[in-house]
């Protein structure tokens, strides 16, 4: 297992370097005149040139990339071209917001969809049909619509939650909970719909297998069969989907972050990408890639632990 993890981490590192080089190259292509953009139209060209030179933009892309890589390896991701904010610090400020959402959504999605999926898969009949209908609805509703309705009802009208803003966990746990509840709920809707369907069909499939029938015929209580045996085999597809959704949230939370005015990575990516702020975007890209690599690794380890057969393949 350890060598498996090490091998995966090694290929992850390689992936990180390749993606960083590609991203840097692609971001440098559009040829935005950063100095002009920062200083505005009123400033004479020589000042713009000086500004660009100060940012090192007068040098070839390859040199700039190597510079960036060297500093990045030493932990210095540079400063935003537009707001002068330190990129590492900006990421450190915003990552907790997005991670709060990602972890919250994943937990809520996991718990609710496993409960629903198992319930529907084991009971079948009316329960199953009800869960299926709700799932389809949850999947079909556009995410931003769900979010807007949640804000209007629970924040603006009822006043139970704040409509915008984020309170760090370290500052006030209750404040943190209040600010992330609605965003987590709205992001969980589609996830629950998808994952609960996965779990349901695997549960049904596993329930039909011979060894389950044997176990049941021996008179083992149904709950024990389901939780000890069925769930273990049925969890794999659900976990995989959950892992993919977790990764997707890194970028997928953009709209929710915008509606709730949450200072997360998603909102940041949009703001800075439109301006071509390479140091910041590179920081976001790195964080995202690392997140993806670690999540996939975690899911694989988890699946392997639950289901020894997967380890062999």
């Amino acid at each position: 297992m350890l060598s498996f993890i090490l091998r995966r981490l090694g290929s992850g590192l390689l992936l990180l370097v390749v993606i960083s080089a590609l991203a840097y190259l692609l971001l440098s292509l559009p040829g935005t005149d950063v100095g002009r953009h920062v200083l505005g139209p009123a400033v004479p060209q020589q000042a713009v040139d000086a500004h660009n030179a100060a940012l090192g933009l007068d040098r070839p892309v390859a040199v700039r990339y190597l510079d960036w890589l060297t500093s990045a390896l030493q932990g210095d991701l540079g400063r935003s071209w537009y707001t002068s904010e330190d990129v590492s610090r900006a990421l450190a400020n915003r990552l907790p917001v997005t991670v709060s959402l990602m972890v919250g959504v994943t937990l809520v999605t996991a718990v609710v969809s496993f409960v629903l999926g198992v319930w529907a898969g084991v009971r079948r009949g009316a329960v199953d049909r009800a869960v299926q209908t709700v799932s389809v609805l949850g999947y079909a509703l556009p995410g931003f619509l769900v979010t807007l309705v949640l804000v209007l009802v629970f924040a603006v009208r009822l006043g139970w939650f704040p409509a915008v803003g984020y309170t760090p966990l370290s500052q006030s746990p209750s404040g943190w909970l209040a600010t992330v509840t609605l965003p987590i709920l709205s992001l969980s809707v589609a996830g629950i719909a998808g994952v609960s369907q996965q779990v349901r069909s695997s549960v049904i499939e596993v329930m039909g297998r011979d060894y389950v029938r044997t176990l049941r015929s021996r008179g083992l209580p149904a709950s024990r069969v389901v939780f000890r045996h069925v769930l273990r085999s049925a969890a794999t597809p659900g976990l995989t989907v959950l892992g993919m959704q977790f990764v997707g949230l890194l970028g997928g939370a953009v709209i929710v972050e915008q509606i709730f005015g949450l200072p997360g990575i998603g909102a940041m990516t949009v703001q800075y990408t439109t301006r071509g702020d390479i140091p910041v975007i590179m920081g976001v890209v790195m964080v995202t890639v690392i997140g993806v690599i670690l999540t996939n690794l975690l899911v694989d380890v988890l699946v392997g632990w639950l289901n020894p057969k997967a380890r062999v393949s």
Binding site: R36, G165, G261
Partner: protein, 508 residues
């Protein structure tokens, strides 16, 4: 260029709101009346005054004082300078400074500090290099007296000193780039580094021993959002105390909520600046008749109604109502008259119209605006093509490569007409082809060399001349809405969209 649509806005200082709030703030600063949270979409490049822009002034006013304070009505009152007087030639501006002011580290604020700051603005190549371009020398007479020697008179100098170019930072912090995130001024607040997340939230707490009268709030937060929808929701639920709304749909939402207090103000105008009045790229535009025809072709009333829900006022002039140059008659100078437009085009030798290409940045030119202009112009035979540009490369092709004969812009209407004259009329920033004529030269010369207010007639004459010559195609002044959650009174700033930080006070 920070707010989605504004390219240049000045901002200013204003009225002294004296409300001494006794009592200790402590750490429990949740939503008590002694803290103010402002929602905004404007982001400062940094907190170094050398990079300040007018529309981001509140971020700076918290930590820096300006030499001159600008009141909400546009008038000037003492701040770090207690007096300012011009000599007869209007090229020597003598400032008398306050004596009892120090920076955080104990460095005294004095004439030497003023010299260091102004020279840094002039030579630094940042946003204010242009406003200080005429500054020849800053002469330090003694600790509290400084004389600004100008190459030529600059009627907007005091305006600039009450704006970004008046922000005084500690010269001891000029080395390195510490001012970008660690501002060092003499202002009423200090930046709370621990609770500030640049790009998201800036938190300011009271500065110890501020020399002036305390502002009413113990703590001020400026929260940055990237859309007005979130801002409106925040105001409705009290997480944001005050904000400015530009989008008409969001304005309507705010107005429909009785908890939200609203206050309209007409500030920026939207319209086409025709750069190419000498016909370098679009020869047709060299004819005044063609420019007039474009003005007559535009259906301003319908545009205002359709695009901004009627929130604003149609106009044909670029100067704002607070200026000497403003003439109410010129708001209706060009009526919508396609017939007349076709005649004018025929007179100019283009009976079949012509083709015109303008740049389009979707942040400024919305789909409805693009379509509306296209169909208005097509109606008189002008075939308008939009070149879609992303905001990253747009400034480059428009201002550096000078590839377009004009552009649609939202412009501020500052209370000082010389600011508008410098930016839009004199050869330079937005007149980069350098168009001029004898009338413009004579009038601007008189306005520049006359003591304050004595050239009001000439300013109006200049305005009329520009309108008659069709230098610009303004559509309308837009109504922006100041909104608050009911706990804050906001006094709008004359000629500015963003109110000065001094204009906020707890609601009575």
């Amino acid at each position: 260029m920070q707010t989605k649509t504004r390219i240049n806005t000045g901002v200013a200082a204003a009225g002294a709101l004296v409300l001494m709030l006794t009592g200790c703030a402590g750490s429990s600063a949740d939503t008590d009346a002694s803290s103010l949270t402002i929602g905004t979409m404007t982001v400062p490049q940094s907190l170094d005054p050398a990079e300040a822009m007018g529309s981001a002034m509140p971020y700076f006013q918290a930590v820096y004082d300006t030499l001159v304070k600008r009141e909400p009505d546009g008038g000037y009152t003492p701040m770090l300078a207690t007096e300012w007087t011009y000599d007869e030639s209007l090229t020597e501006l003598t400032l008398t400074l306050r004596e009892d002011v120090t920076f955080d580290d104990g460095t005294p604020f004095d004439a030497e500090a003023v010299r260091a700051n102004l020279e840094r603005f002039r030579d630094g190549g940042g946003g204010q290099a242009q406003t200080m371009a005429l500054l020849e020398e800053v002469e330090v007479v003694d600790d509290t007296t400084v004389v600004l020697h100008l190459e030529q008179p600059n009627p907007a100098m005091v305006f600039y000193l009450s704006d970004a170019a008046g922000l005084m930072a500690n010269p001891a912090a000029f080395d390195g780039d510490s001012l970008t995130t660690d501002p060092d001024g003499t202002g009423p607040y200090e930046l709370d580094q621990d609770r500030t997340a640049v790009g998201t939230t800036w938190v300011y707490t009271r500065a110890d021993g501020y020399w002036g009268e305390d502002l009413p709030y113990d703590e001020v937060s400026i929260n940055l959002f990237d859309n007005e929808n979130a801002i409106v929701n925040g105001v409705r639920t009290g997480q944001i105390n005050a904000a400015l709304l530009q989008d008409v749909d969001q304005q309507a939402v705010a107005e429909s909520d009785e908890k939200v207090e609203t206050q309209p103000q007409d500030i920026d105008y939207q319209g086409i600046i025709l750069f190419d009045r000498d016909g370098h790229i679009a020869p047709e535009l060299a004819e005044p008749e063609v420019r007039q025809a474009i003005n007559h072709a535009v259906d301003r009333e319908t545009m205002l109604e359709q695009l901004r829900d009627g929130q604003g006022e149609t106009t044909s002039q670029i100067f704002g109502p607070q200026t000497d140059a403003y003439d109410p008659e010129l708001d209706t100078y060009y009526d919508h008259d396609p017939e007349r437009a076709r005649e004018l085009l025929a007179d100019a030798g283009y009976p079949d119209g012509f083709a015109l290409t303008l740049p389009r940045m979707s942040e400024i030119v919305s789909d409805p605006l693009a379509t509306s202009l296209q169909s208005d112009l097509a109606d008189v035979g002008i075939d308008l093509t939009w070149d879609n540009l992303d905001s990253g490369s747009a400034l480059n092709s428009i201002f550096t490569e000078q590839a377009y004969p004009g552009m649609v812009m939202n412009n501020a209407q500052p209370a000082e007409d010389w600011v508008t004259t410098v930016e839009l009329v004199l050869p330079g920033t937005f007149n980069f082809f350098g168009t001029t004529d004898e009338t413009v030269q004579d009038l601007t010369h008189t306005i520049q060399t006359s003591p304050d207010g004595e050239a009001a007639d000439q300013a109006r004459e200049l305005n009329r001349h520009l309108v008659e010559q069709g230098w610009f195609v303004p559509f309308y002044r837009m109504t922006f809405l100041h909104v608050s959650d009911g706990t804050v009174d906001v006094e709008p700033q004359s000629g500015m969209a963003v109110p000065a930080l001094y204009n906020y006070a707890p609601a009575e």
